[in-house]
């Protein structure tokens, strides 16, 4: 009985948080069907923005740049960050603290400061364009990866790795088969944080990009003045629906298998 009340309370609480997180998303979805160009006037239902979205080349290009930059920067940041975190953790106390201080710096600086500093530095060796944006994104992504992997490393059970080595596993095999799986949760959330940071950034991207390169964020930021184009709401809604459907599918398909395993046990 007590357990059931607790279950009920915890589900209610989850519901509240989800309401909080999704309220603005719901607003955006509603706006994508608004026939008025203004975000504050309801002009009736329309699917017009969706059809216009597909004929808009600029948005398509911005979307692909955004996704490619986000993916690549998150992947590279994850690799460098996870290795970095493992290495830093093994450092002596003093070095450990020093490196962690530097790790925090990209987060401590206001975006504009990082953006301008990187631009002034990049100018010396790389033309501003896709590559410079990618470098900048990796730079501000790494701290998030390190910070989300670090706690996992601390909790890591090293005896498992030692046992594997004792049983003849090589260091590489041990690393991939024993160490890495223990860190999986931290790595995955680090990757997603990095991916998200990259998708959302506009200030740093703005200062490190060249002509013709646009991400969705810089595009949207440029539109605020004249009013956000409703195509953007439509695009957001589509991305949302798309990811959501995949999540549902991934959640419910393997779910059944798990249950049967449990029952057998």
């Amino acid at each position: 009985m007590v357990e059931r009340i607790k279950d009920w309370i915890s589900r209610f609480y989850l519901g509240l948080i989800i309401l909080f997180l999704y309220a603005p998303i719901a607003v955006l979805i509603v706006l994508s069907f608004n026939s008025s160009r203004s975000r504050v006037v309801w002009g009736g239902f329309t699917l017009n923005w969706y059809s216009r979205l597909f004929s808009n080349r600029q948005i398509g290009e911005a979307l692909s740049t955004t996704l490619i930059v986000a993916l690549l920067s998150a992947l590279i940041a994850t690799v460098i960050g996870v290795l970095g975190a493992l290495g830093i953790h093994a450092m002596r106390e003093k070095n450990y603290q020093l490196v962690m201080v530097f790790t925090n710096i990209p987060m401590v600086n206001a975006d504009i400061v990082t953006g301008i500093a990187l631009m002034l530095w990049f100018v010396h060796f790389i033309p501003l364009g896709f590559g410079s944006v990618l470098l900048a994104h990796i730079t501000f992504n790494i701290p998030y990866v390190i910070l989300s992997v670090m706690p996992k490393i601390r909790q890591m059970n090293v005896s498992l790795y030692e046992a594997a080595r004792d049983l003849g596993a090589g260091p590489v095999y041990g690393f991939f088969k024993v160490l890495l799986p223990q860190l999986a949760g931290g790595i995955v959330s680090g990757f997603f944080m990095a991916f998200t940071m990259s998708m959302d950034d506009f200030v740093i991207t703005y200062f490190t990009k060249g002509p013709g390169v646009n991400t969705l964020s810089t595009m949207i930021y440029g539109e605020i003045r004249k009013g956000i184009k409703p195509e953007m709401y439509a695009l957001s809604t589509l991305i949302f629906a798309f990811v959501f459907v995949i999540l549902l599918a991934a959640n419910y398909l393997p779910q059944r298998k798990k249950k049967t395993v449990k029952e057998r046990r």
Binding site: P24, R39, L83, A90, V101, L118, Y144, S148, P151
Partner: protein, 278 residues
């Protein structure tokens, strides 16, 4: 702990990262320091760094601190029950719940903040709902509360994820054993879950507190431009007033300030390192 270090000479793994730090963090920082330590004519000065003590800047710093500490605390208070509630779900659903938390962040940040403005504004959605329920409308728009809501909204996942990762790792058997020995829910939380989640909590604090000290978009849009955070002032010095020297100076002093508070956390962090390994 020490055994781990002595067995694995693995600090070389961080070499790519160290190179990266030097190339893309340290060198750009030198650029910023150069601006911070000169006046617009190029002469050496400390006045850009000490400018943070100017009453106007100090007030903005204190206000930023209030907002950042407040947002961090609210995030912590919201996260623990959330993580515990997620723990009650079965394993498959936990991953799903995590993604549900991250998903909103994939919508563009500016669009989400603008949506919040529409929700909170005077004739906004929240007041519309309240009126429908026969309640008094709220005047949240353009206040510190609105800024806090925006920040908590934006940074909550950065707190939840590391705490969840730490808590998910706790062996169910330990909790069962504690229960068998007569420990109540509160004791289990205080003696087992909280201490074991400290590393995650610390990461979360850094990832929420630090960015909220420097952000400016949320305060510009949800604060109605009537309230200014340090981030707004730095932004303004760079983009509106074209005074990079003062902007850099303020940024450097903010950085020193935040790093000192981080060093303070680090101290606990080191202690936490021991307690987390039990």
């Amino acid at each position: 702990m020490n055994k781990l270090k002595s067995i694995n000479k693995r600090s070389w793994l961080s070499s790519p990262y160290i190179v990266w730090i030097i190339g893309f963090t340290v060198i750009p920082m030198i650029v910023i320091f150069r601006y911070a330590l000169t006046n617009p004519d190029g002469g050496f000065t400390f006045s850009q760094i000490t400018a943070i003590l100017d009453p106007v800047h100090l007030r903005a710093l204190v206000f930023s601190l209030e907002i950042a500490v407040g947002s961090t605390l609210v995030c912590i208070l919201l996260s623990y029950p959330l993580v515990l509630a997620m723990r009650r779900l079965n394993l498959g659903k936990q991953g799903f719940a995590l993604f549900i938390l991250i998903l909103p962040m994939w919508m563009n940040f500016i669009l989400r903040v603008l949506a919040w403005q529409m929700i909170l504004s005077k004739n906004g959605i929240l007041n519309f709902v309240l009126k429908g329920l026969g309640l008094e409308p709220l005047a949240i728009a353009n206040t510190g509360t609105a800024i806090m809501i925006g920040m908590v909204y934006d940074y909550l996942p950065y707190m939840v994820l590391p705490i969840f990762n730490a808590v998910a790792e706790i062996d169910e058997d330990i909790i069962e054993a504690a229960k068998d020995l007569g420990a109540g829910g509160l004791t289990i939380f205080r003696k087992i879950i909280l201490p074991l989640s400290i590393p995650g909590l610390l990461s979360g604090i850094v990832m929420v507190f630090v960015p909220s000290m420097t952000s400016f978009v949320v305060s510009d849009i949800l604060g109605g431009g009537k309230l200014q955070l340090v981030g707004n002032i730095i932004e303004q010095e760079f983009t509106k007033n074209m005074n990079w020297n003062l902007g850099s100076g303020l940024s450097v002093s903010l950085m020193i300030f935040v790093l000192i508070s981080m060093a303070f956390t680090m101290k606990h962090d080191v202690e936490g390192k021991g307690s987390a390994i039990w």
